[in-house]
């Protein structure tokens, strides 16, 4: 055999350690507990912390806000390494700044400027965490990727499909952000915390003496630690030379009467009441945003109710693409009580959702996730 043929004949599957599982570690108590749990179950593990965003990149945002709640900072990497040292498993930092900027940060800014309200965490899950990170995990010899998400995965023996389910602790459930995962991605992922409550997780962390057991949760977007996303958008747009509208836009009623002005559609989201900059008789809410005309349309609360809306880029999870309309409980926001609806696919990726009872503030850019009890049937972006 010549050298090339010898090379081609080399085994491609990992022989490093059978059953190696990669754990995505943010340095927080959830993902650290995942590592502890898997290790206690006897799995060989390797920790991976993603470097996603250089916090020092936009200088005007420095010195703002509480530094300790910044995700992906050096402190968080350090915490992840301490956990890895404590439990004695290898840990690496892997750099996905380019992918994160292309697939999460830039779309986030573009969506806001287009008058939509994006969900960065969903893009991160679908396009970063479970894509290049999962690939990296497989390349280094791990067959599976475990994360600290509160959600559950199970294989349906009858249908052969991988199903995504809500977490047992509904108050922590993150299934709303995971609707974009493919069958391939789900088949290689583990969510060990799906059956646990947050209290149980912390108790586990304490029992294992994890260095991060008492670490507070990070609540904000990882790349906008101050929570001031408007400031972030301005800073990023400036650096990336994205033109922001220089002129003030109009705030109008449904009849087109101009009742005020605004400084950028990205300051608003559907259903918003604050920030309208004037006192009117009755409370006024943002009904819709017209980025082309740089307008924000406001009206009464009743006008905020929608029965039916269009969706795009659908992904079917626990079931395959339905042949006709199906019934489901649909969530249109992370903090929204799922409401009964009929979901009608119009093509492989588009469709219409019709609620039985009109729901408040259906927001373009957010996701409509279709549940059947605990199961996530699928989801799509709201048009």
């Amino acid at each position: 055999m010549n050298a090339v043929a010898q090379f081609d004949a080399l085994p491609t599957s990992a022989e490093t350690q059978r059953g190696l599982i990669a754990v995505a570690m943010s340095g927080g108590v959830d993902s650290s507990t995942v590592a502890a749990v898997l290790q206690q179950q006897g799995h060989p593990i390797v920790g991976l912390t993603m470097q996603l965003w250089n916090q020092r990149r936009l200088p005007e945002l420095q010195g703002d806000g509480p530094k300790q709640h910044r995700c992906c900072s050096l402190d968080d990497v350090y915490d992840a390494k301490r956990v890895a040292q404590h439990l004695d498993f290898p840990h690496y930092v892997v750099n996905f700044e380019e992918q994160f900027e292309q697939r999460v940060v830039r779309p986030f800014v573009d969506q806001y400027l287009a008058g939509r309200t994006p969900i960065a965490c969903t893009n991160c899950n679908t396009d970063v965490k479970f894509e290049p990170l999962l690939r990296m995990a497989r390349q280094i010899g791990a067959e599976r990727l475990a994360t600290g998400h509160y959600a559950r995965i199970r294989r349906n023996g009858a249908t052969g499909r991988w199903e995504l389910l809500r977490a047992r602790d509904e108050s922590k459930d993150q299934s709303y952000f995971l609707w974009g995962l493919s069958q391939e991605q789900l088949s290689r992922s583990d969510f060990p915390l799906g059956e646990l409550t947050k209290e149980e997780v912390r108790a586990l962390a304490r029992r294992t003496n994890l260095p991060v057991a008492e670490k507070p949760e990070s609540m904000e977007l990882c790349f906008v630690p101050t929570g001031n996303y408007v400031q972030f958008i301005h800073a990023y747009a400036r650096e990336a030379q994205i033109p922001l509208s220089q002129t003030e836009g109009e705030i109008v009623t449904e009849d087109g009467v101009v009742i005020g002005h605004h400084h950028g559609v990205h300051n608003f989201t559907i259903g918003q009441r604050k920030g309208l900059g004037f006192a009117a008789g009755k409370p006024l809410y943002v009904l819709s945003i017209d980025p082309e005309k740089n307008r924000v349309i406001v009206g009464n609360d009743d006008a905020l109710r929608t029965t039916s809306f269009a969706v795009q880029d659908a992904n079917w999870v626990s079931v395959g693409l339905p042949l006709g309309p199906i019934r489901a409980q649909v969530k249109i926001r992370h903090k929204h009580e799922p409401a009964a609806a009929t979901v009608e696919p119009l093509s492989a990726s588009t469709g219409r959702v019709a609620f039985d009872v009109p729901q408040r503030a259906v927001t373009p850019g957010q996701a409509a996730v279709f549940y059947d009890g605990d199961r996530v049937l699928g989801g799509a972006w709201i048009r």
Binding site: F7, L10, T16, N95, M136
Partner: protein, 430 residues
Amino acid sequence: MTRAYLDHNATTPVEPAVLEAMLPYFSADFANASSIHTPGQRARAAVEAAREQVAALINAKPQEIVFTSGGTESDNHAIFGSVLPLVTWPSVRSPNPYDDIDRRKSIAHRKHVISTTVEHEAVLNSCQELEKRGATVTYLAVNTNGIVDPESVRRAIKTEQPRPFEHGVTRVEQQTQIITIMHANNELGTIQPLEAIGRIAKEHNIPFHTDAVQSVGKIPVNVNTLNVDLLSLSAHKLYGPKGVGALYIRTGTQIQQLLYGGHHQRGFRPGTENVAGIVGLGKAAELAQHSLATDAARISVLRDKLERGLLARIPHTRANSAAASRTPNTTNILFSGIEGEALVIALDLKGLACSVGAACSSGAVEPSHVLTAIGLSAEEAKSSLRFSLGRHTTEAEIAFALDVIPAAVSQLRALSPTYQKHLAAHHDQL
């Protein structure tokens, strides 16, 4: 698990003989080398003996050796010390810095430095800081083998004489203050033609500094043959401890001190001497001098075996700058179609330690500036790994490397979309 350490350019293990030489200075002979009592004198003697050992390694005089905290400090000292207001070495006095603070800034406007695009960050970042303060720097390009053309140094020299003041006319007059060019490159191992460059520097009366951190202990370094006035070296690259190094300063060189404090090392480099570390550096230098030739012969055979073996067994690979004159231990290989970061991790999990880019830039987004300087694309730079062998690297470790690296690359390529693209683009070559 079998472990092979092929990252000696990052650091080397401390030789047992070096450790043994150091230990007494932590306990029995712990005194401060500057104290006048007997214990102090013993420590002083050890420091001066070490100074002689280091001087002997590079053919310098002992009084031309200043001990520092390592290569980075030596580089900073050589560069900032040559561009700031000057004092002739080995004088014991230095000007009061606060008197000169404004003059220093305006003087910097006329100061010019010549360096290259492939220097270590300790040199590059120092040069960039000088630029922020008003100096100008020329970063000479290198060819695809990473080598600087001495004639490009000559062309870059600025020797404008100060001209009489002209009312209403602003100009920047430049005068080259220092040429700083590394001896051996940390990522590629390529060796610069310092003799020729040094001659040009001498012709123009410009101080010539070299960062010799990667060459001292690996190849013969003679400050007179190389025509250098300043040279940086670091103990932990030649089987000595971390945290100690030296700066060679040729008698008569004009240089400013960097740190201010007590009278240690003629007041020029204050700070209580790290006696144990310095003794370790001295011993390491002595050992290096004796074993340099045999080490080089043995290691280069193993390095060539590794390099040839990888190129033969794995398609779509290339050795970066292999045609240049290199240190005997380094090979830098491009593995097309994979992420270097992933390969380093995969190899580490299999027990093989190596690196992508230089040790101090891990986790960085930018591809190696050295690989970019020799003409690699960003993608190629990120797909290249450095293997650097050492005095104690064995045949078995090389055999192990030749075993695990192809398997790891194969595994990565099987899952790599960029490899598929690479294959499609290069289907006619191999």
